[in-house]
């Protein structure tokens, strides 16, 4: 009944439709612009939500999220430059199709497959999340702490080697430490405030996210450009007329699309794996299982369909743990969690119970945003490419000004802008030395949840670690977290052994 009411509410609300259109367009634009990630795009859209009610704000943000994942494929196909990391495998066949004069068809395939992958994952999200919510209603504080720890293992996907993994772990620890600033919820003692009243309430997520994601990237881009390391996009005139594949062509690759959608959904649910891994894995699986495996990499539709379906299917997957457990599994979903918290809401089982209309409105909004992508992607591809011609001084200056407005507009407090500025500088150094900013944000967002639940669990158990943690679910989750954190080291060790052999 709730879902029918949500469908009716969203479908008959012109503001929701307007926000979905704006969100998808902005997301595609951010995704298409190299140097603006989906997380950064979602963070930059925050000031646009300040005067919206929570349902509209979240509909706008999930639309940006869906559009952003697709947007990266435009530059990947037209210029061989992935606008976002998750569009990298799309370049393998997409750009080759452009060279063969089939760029329009590659774009059409990317649009249809992204929309299908996204819409499919949203439907699955609507089915899976309530089941997870039922299980989560029986969670103890220790279980919650363990689930949040599992969310932190998302950092496993953010580092691509033992050293990078160590950097990701350090980033997440710094985020956890930042979450401890302010008055301690249990003892009421101020921690690490150094006498500053501005820090008594803790460090707010929003200025940190905006500063670290957006401002830090602008400073990094300036550095790259001044060092002459930035390769400009050769924006010679190209025919950007989108052409959808025929029904027969589409049906020929139906199994690739379905497999990729399932892979994307599954990988999206796992913390840390995300859209990039989903796109690479599905490209590999499609290549291995295809009748035309030798043609992969030469410019075939299947090579575009697989990664594009999977990376958009991961969006619905990534929203499952966020909506049902309140645990974000990626940088972008961490920013979306920040919006929930900004409105005083904690996603999780209680949100499903107390505010089902909100949850289902997000699901419905996300579904329609994916459908809208078909029309907006087709109509707007040429326009989005025109935006790539904007000089960086326009983009960089606008990003900084939006960051300032976003931080100030939160509570009309200049202290928030100073916090944003500090994290712009920290974000710059983190990017420069390959520390994942998303890990810091994830630590900051999950820090309080872990600390409060862990301490609550220890208090309930009479301050006994064994009583608190030695429960089947808790211990399984902790072991799974440890395994995910150690996995890159095990993989590196195994590859060393293989090389030695």
């Amino acid at each position: 009944m709730d879902i029918l009411s949500a469908i009716h509410g969203v479908m008959t609300d012109p503001i929701s439709w307007f926000l979905m259109v704006v969100g998808v367009c902005a997301g595609v634009l951010f995704g298409a612009l190299p140097g603006i990630s989906t997380s950064m795009g979602v963070a930059l859209m925050l000031p646009f939500t300040y005067r919206l009610d929570v349902i509209h704000a979240l509909i706008l943000m999930v639309s940006v999220y869906c559009g952003g994942i697709f947007g990266g494929s435009i530059t990947a196909i037209m210029f061989n430059i992935p606008g976002t990391p998750e569009a990298t495998p799309t370049t393998f066949d997409g750009y080759k199709m452009t060279l063969k004069g089939e760029g329009g068809k590659a774009l059409g395939t990317a649009i249809l497959c992204s929309a299908f992958g996204g819409a499919f994952s949203v439907l699955m999200m609507a089915l899976i999340s309530p089941l997870l919510v039922k299980a989560a209603l029986n969670f103890s504080p220790a279980d919650y702490a363990a689930v949040a720890f599992l969310g932190l293992s998302a950092v496993a996907g953010l580092g691509h080697g033992p050293k990078e993994q160590l950097k990701a772990i350090l980033s997440v620890l710094l985020g956890l430490l930042l979450a401890t600033v302010g008055i301690d919820a249990i003892t009421g003692v101020p921690r690490f405030t150094f006498g500053s009243p501005a820090l008594l309430g803790g460090i707010k997520f929003i200025p940190v996210m905006i500063g670290a994601f957006a401002g830090g990237e602008v400073l990094r881009q300036i550095e790259s450009r001044k060092k002459g390391l930035m390769i400009g996009i050769e924006l010679f005139r190209k025919d950007v007329t989108t052409r959808f594949p025929s029904l027969r062509e589409f049906l020929e690759i139906k199994w690739t699309i379905l497999k990729s959608a399932l892979i994307g959904l599954g990988i999206g649910i796992l913390p840390g794996a995300g859209a990039t891994i989903a796109a690479f894995v599905s490209y590999g699986v499609a290549k291995r299982s295809s009748k035309h495996r030798d043609k992969f990499g030469t410019g075939i539709m299947e090579g575009v369909a697989a990664p594009e379906t999977a990376n958009n299917a991961s969006t619905g997957g990534a929203m499952v743990p966020l909506l049902s457990l309140g645990i974000p599994g990626s940088g972008t979903t961490a920013v979306i969690l920040g919006i929930f918290l900004m409105y005083g809401l904690q996603p999780g089982p209680l949100l499903y119970a107390n505010n089902p209309k909100l949850v289902y409105s997000i699901i419905v909004g996300m579904f329609f945003a994916n459908i809208l992508m078909i029309f907006l992607g087709r109509l707007g591809a040429r326009l989005f490419v025109e935006f790539l011609r904007l000089p960086y001084y326009v983009i960089g200056t606008t990003i900084i000004l939006l960051s300032v407005i976003g931080s100030y507009g939160l509570d009309n407090d200049i202290d928030d802008v100073w916090i944003c500025l500090v994290f712009m500088i920290i974000g710059y150094f983190m990017r420069k030395y390959d520390f994942p900013v998303a890990a810091l944000v994830l630590g900051l967002v999950l820090g309080k949840l872990i600390e409060n639940n862990l301490r609550r669990a220890l208090i309930i158990s009479g301050f006994s670690w064994s009583n608190a943690l030695l429960r089947p679910l808790t211990i399984s989750l902790i072991l799974l977290t440890i395994f995910m954190l150690l996995w890159p080291y095990i993989k590196a060790l195994r590859s060393k052994e293989v090389k030695a052999d």
């Binding site: 000031p47 646009f48 300040y50 005067r51 050293k163 160590l166 950097k167 772990i169 350090l170 620890l173 710094l174 956890l176 430490l177 401890t180 301690d184 249990i186 003892t187 003692v189 921690r191 690490f192 400073l219 300036i222 550095e223 790259s224 450009r225 001044k226 060092k227 002459g228 390391l229 000089p391 960086y392 001084y393 326009v394 960089g396 200056t397 606008t398 900084i400 000004l401 939006l402 300032v404 407005i405 100030y408 507009g409 009309n412 200049i414 802008v417 100073w418 500025l421 712009m424 500088i425 150094f429 420069k432 030395y433 390959d434 600390e451 862990l454 301490r455 220890l458 208090i459 301050f463």
Partner: protein
């Protein structure tokens, strides 16, 4: 070398905060009930992780002797842009959002593009005006208005 300095800085900050935590922590017999119990656990892990990272970086520096970075110096521009952002924030209350944003945009255009032509000036006015009108008037975000006549003037715009 820069990454090593960054990692040493993180280690230094962690040691400082740990010392602060130890000094400030209460003497509650039950450790969980001490306010710095959790931060100290995190700080210990930070100390271990940053120490391991420093060792890895030193080893890499020693073994591989990485080539020097590109010769073109970017740091004066970065420093200039950082000061520009600091001024943007610091002048908000005095000059208001619009005026400080225009000054910021002009300097930022010069820093990023390395030149200042009429088009840069035009865009440096257009972006702050556009953002101020949209957020100040349409979205209802209360942007800083400045003092004196700038404040009066701001009410005519947003």
């Amino acid at each position: 070398m820069g990454d090593l300095i960054f990692e040493i800085s993180v280690l230094g900050i962690a040691i400082f905060l740990y010392a602060a935590g130890v000094t400030l922590d209460s003497k509650n017999p039950i450790s969980v009930m001490r306010p710095y119990w959790w931060p100290k656990m995190i700080l210990i892990l930070i100390l271990i992780a940053s120490f391991a990272l420093i060792l890895t970086s030193v080893r890499e520096l020693w073994v591989y002797r990485r080539p020097r970075e590109a010769s073109k110096k970017a740091w004066p521009w970065l420093l200039a842009q950082t000061v520009n952002i600091i001024l943007l924030v610091a002048l908000q209350n005095l000059l208001g959002f619009l005026v400080s944003a225009i000054i910021f945009s002009i300097v930022s255009s010069f820093i990023i593009d390395g030149k200042l032509k009429a088009v840069h000036i035009f865009i440096s006015f257009a972006i702050p005006f556009g953002l101020t009108l949209f957020f100040g008037s349409v979205m209802g975000v209360v942007l800083p208005r400045g003092v004196g006549f700038l404040r009066e003037l701001s009410f005519l715009i947003y």
